[in-house]
Structures are given as C-alpha cells and as structure tokens.
C-alpha cells in the first residue's frame, strides 16, 4: 500500500512498573521483529511508550502478534496496540 515499507507502531500505555520495556522487547525479539526507534515518557505516573518496528515480512493480520501483545499487556496491566505505519502516514501527511 502507501509506503511499501512493512513497519508498524506499537504503543504501550498504562501505570509504570519494573520491566515493561524488557518484556515487550523480548516478545518482539522472539517474533523476529526489529525495533527501529523507541520513545518513552512518564506523565503523572502514566507510562507512555511508542516503538517504531520493522515487521520483517510478518503480516499483522495473518500472525498472532496482536494477540500476544494483548495478553502481555494484560499481564503487565498496560494497554498495548500494534498498527501498521501506513495509517499514520495517511492521516498526518499530505
């Protein structure tokens, strides 16, 4: 589609605790997903992390990566989403 690149945005939002980044990056490594960029802030105790990842040929809709991230999110008490980057390019760039 739009960009031809197979990148995605992973967002993690919730209450801060030890090990969020470690666990999310471990899960991504296990699924052969490379992290291109991470930004992270804590606002009023709310942990917000945005990761730009290279899916390396994996298709979100055909894999169970979304479900894996969701269940990790439940375990950590945070909300994790994964969305293809084309969505953001389309909405925010002319």
């Amino acid at each position: 589609m739009a960009s031809g690149k197979n990148n995605a945005v992973i967002s993690v939002i919730g209450k801060d605790k030890v090990g969020i980044i470690a666990k999310v990056s471990t899960l991504l490594a296990e699924n052969n997903i490379n992290i291109n960029d991470i930004s992270q802030t804590i606002l009023d105790d709310i942990f917000t992390m945005i990761m730009m990842v290279d899916l390396q040929g994996l298709k979100i809709e055909e894999s169970d990566i979304k479900e894996k991230l969701n269940s990790l999110g439940e375990e950590l008490g945070v909300a994790i989403t994964i969305q293809h980057t084309d969505l953001f390019d389309k909405m925010h760039r002319i």
Binding site: E62, Q83, H84, D86, F88, K90, M91
Partner: protein, 452 residues
C-alpha cells in the same frame, strides 16, 4: 517521520472518540440475474452475491486488524430489484427479498440494500409490484433494506408515488407492529438518491455503476467534537478550519481502508462517503457536536446555521483527503441513532418542524423519527412531499425514514435496540393535507433543472 503526538492523537481518536469505519459496502450488479421465472432469477442472485461477497467479512476483519481501525459493518448493495425482477413477470417480489436475506446471512453481512425502485418520473409495472411487496418483504426478512426514489431535480416529484409510499409505510408499520414497527426503520424514500451510497437503509447500486465496486462510509462525530473542544470561544472561521482538518484525517482513514479492501478483494474502489454518522453511544453524537458550537440544546435557534457550517466544512476537508468522495457525504441527523438528538427531542427542544429545516443543510433528511401510530397515511405522504420538495428544489439529496409506531403516542418511547437506538414519539401537525395528496400527478421539475 511521524511524531509521537500525532500517534497519540490517532490513538485517542479510535479509543476515546469513537472514530471508526462505519461500513465497507460491496455494490454488486444484478443486471445479469434477470430471468423468465422467479426461481431462476433468485438462484442467479443468490449465487452471484455469494460468489462476489463470500470473503467480504473476512477481508474487512483483516484490514481492521492490520491498522487497528474498527470496521463496524460489512454490507452489500445491489441493483434495484424492480429492474432485475421485471423480466419474470411475477406479481409478488417477496421471494426476491427472501433470497437477498439468505445471501446476506450466508456472507455474514448485517444488511443488504437494494429492494428498491427508481420512480421519480413514473412507475413501470415492475416498480408497482415492488412497492406493493415492500411491507411483507420487510416483515419477513431480517437484513433486507428497501428504498424508493420519488423525486429528482431533473424530473420533479412523482406525487402518485408520494401518496402510495404513505400507505406503504403505514402497512410496513402494521405488519411489524409486534416489533415497534421495525419494518419502517429499514425503509427510506429519497429525492435525488445517490447511486453509490454505502449507508443503510438507502444503499443500492445504481444503473450507471460498475459490475462490482467497493464503497466505504466513514464516521466520527466524536473526533470533530473533541477538536472543537480545543477551540472554545474562538470565532467561527477558526471553528470551520478545525472541522476541515478533523474531516481530512477521518477521510484519509476511509481512503486507506477502501483502497486496501479494493485491492484485497480484486474489486474497483468506488467512493468514500465522508458522513458524520452518529450512534446512540455517548460521545458519538452529531447533536452534541452542534451543541459544542455554543447551543444549549440541539434544536434551538442557531442549530440550522451551525449544521450548515458543519456539513460544508466536513465536505471541504474530506474532498481534500480523497478525490473520490460520493454517496451522501455530510452530517447525518437521525433522531433514534443519536444520543444527543434523543435527549433534545425528549426535552421538547427539538421539534419535527426544526428537523425539517435542518434537512435543508444536512447531508440527507428526516431520519429515524418515531411518530404516533395513528398518524394517517396522507399526513405521512405530506411529510414526504415537503421533504421531497426541499431536495428537488434545492438540488440536494433528501430522504424520509419515519416510523409510525402502532399503539404509541406523543410522550412514549420506542426501543429498537443496537445501532437503531431508541426514540421519543414526536408530535406531528395533524391538520389534514389529504385533498392535496389525493390530487396525484407530478410536481414539475424546477426551472433550474434546465441547465443544458
């Protein structure tokens, strides 16, 4: 490089502001399903719909997963059945409706539109059979939607059909009286009906459309309302600019989904319908959005002006985002499907006459309005005639989807459930227009129809 605040803004739109793709609607031509017997024609229709739309729902779900975008409905629109069924010579088209219903269930979609006729200038024999079949068709099917185009700016208004549709709506209400006249929620009459509209109940695939096409309807009143909350007290030029920007972003999501659906299904992309379509959920209301302009309650003075500006700014932002904008495009103002409209109507601030004025500047017309069950067929025809005149003489699409609920009167509530919502029964001017309606004939096309 996309900035973090842009990512968070997008996520808020989906998670908190109810942004969604309201519908992916596959239009399927049934022109080649005409046959000399009802059975043969119905078999062809069923096979063709299932062949084309068999994986529509699955593809919709894949796209939804890829982008994290909710896609609420997957639907089908077809060639008006009055055209397809004409060759079979039957006097009853209910079997066609049942076939559409069965095909919808097999494909897993939740509505199929096109039990329709285009009679703006007059009836064919087949159009008459179709209209006679509407009440039973809606009472005996679950997912079939029906629409009739009664008028256009080019042709004027077919007042015979306006008279007959008043009677048809009453019959549809009686046959579904046990379900609070639910049949009428699946029936709409139009002036200047668009042939590529993806939204129900009025979706059908017009005669000028391709063999198969993907049309996408977006939504997002909550997104626009949220954007306006950021410019409270600013002048109206700023408000218009803010709406345009929000509409642009919403429409781009629709464009992305439509293009991808078209590619995956191997079917051409038709149009994006950039309508602000409310739901009964709190935070997804066009009425609350209008109130954000500075109105105490939707329906008070200023509502029409605010709606005019909203409708126009939505279109301006949307047309920048997609070159193929069509369908109804603008702001819908259904009553039962909009939490703020329900509250405004129940409080007495929003009256039927004000809704009529609002339809001069909204995207469609009088929509999902419950009225007393003892309203006469002629009065319903009178309401339709006025709405058709607004569309015909102002060169816009207008529509009426009105529900005379048997056994209920002003002050009662009717519950349809789900996206169809709930509505207070609204008062109707009962002074008779019967002699006007029974004149019949045609109201000639307006002078500005002659543009050649």
């Amino acid at each position: 490089m996309i900035k973090d605040f842009e990512i968070l803004e997008t996520m808020q739109m989906f998670n908190e502001q109810h942004l969604d793709i309201r519908t992916i609607t596959m239009g399927i031509s049934l022109m080649d399903c005409a046959a000399s017997t009802v059975e043969e024609s119905c078999n062809k229709i069923y096979d063709k719909i299932c062949r084309y739309a068999g994986n529509l729902v699955e593809v919709g779900e894949q796209i939804s997963k890829k982008y994290g975008v909710p896609i609420i409905h997957k639907r089908i629109s077809v060639t008006p059945i009055s055209i397809v069924a004409a060759a079979c010579g039957s006097k009853d088209y209910v079997p066609f409706a049942k076939t559409l219903d069965k095909a919808a269930k097999t494909c897993g979609v939740n509505f199929v539109g096109g039990f329709s006729a285009l009679v703006q200038k007059g009836y064919t024999n087949s159009d008459k059979v179709l209209i006679d079949s509407i009440p039973e068709a809606l009472a005996t099917t679950d997912f079939v939607c029906s629409s009739v185009n009664l008028a256009s700016t080019r042709t004027g208004i077919n007042m015979d059909a306006v008279r007959d549709m008043g009677v048809t709506i009453k019959k549809a209400a009686e046959l579904t009286a046990d379900r609070d006249a639910l049949g009428c929620a699946k029936l709409v009459v139009f002036a200047n009906a668009p042939e590529d509209n993806p939204f129900m109940a009025g979706a059908f695939l017009g005669p000028g459309e391709p063999e198969c096409v993907i049309n996408v309807g977006i939504s997002g009143p909550g997104v626009v309302k949220h954007a306006l909350e950021g410019v409270r007290g600013a002048d109206l030029g700023t408000v218009a600019e803010t709406i345009k920007k929000a509409a642009f972003k919403i429409t781009r999501v629709g464009e992305l989904v439509a293009r991808e659906a078209s590619e995956r299904l191997g079917v051409p992309f038709g149009i994006i319908d950039l309508s602000l379509a409310p739901t009964p959920a709190v935070g997804d209301s066009v009425a609350r959005l209008l109130e954000e302009f500075g109105l105490e309650t939707c329906g008070t003075w200023g509502t029409t002006a605010a709606l005019a500006m909203l409708n126009d700014a939505v279109k301006k932002g949307g047309t920048m985002a997609s070159s193929f904008v069509g369908g109804l495009s603008g702001a819908f103002i259904p009553v039962s499907e909009d939490e703020g409209m329900i509250a405004a109507a129940a409080s007495g601030s929003l009256l039927l006459e004000k809704l009529e004025a609002m339809t001069c500047v909204c995207s469609v017309g009088l929509d999902m309005i419950a009225i007393p069950g003892d309203t006469t067929a002629e009065t319903i025809s009178g309401i339709i005639a006025d709405e058709m005149a607004l569309g015909t003489f102002n060169n816009k699409t207008t529509a009426v989807r009105i529900i005379p609920v048997p056994g209920k009167g002003v002050g009662d509530f009717v519950e349809f459930g789900g996206l169809l919502g709930r509505a207070p029964i609204m008062a109707v001017n009962t002074s008779s227009c019967a002699d006007f309606i029974h004149r019949g004939g045609r109201i000639p096309a307006p002078i500005h129809s002659m543009r050649n």
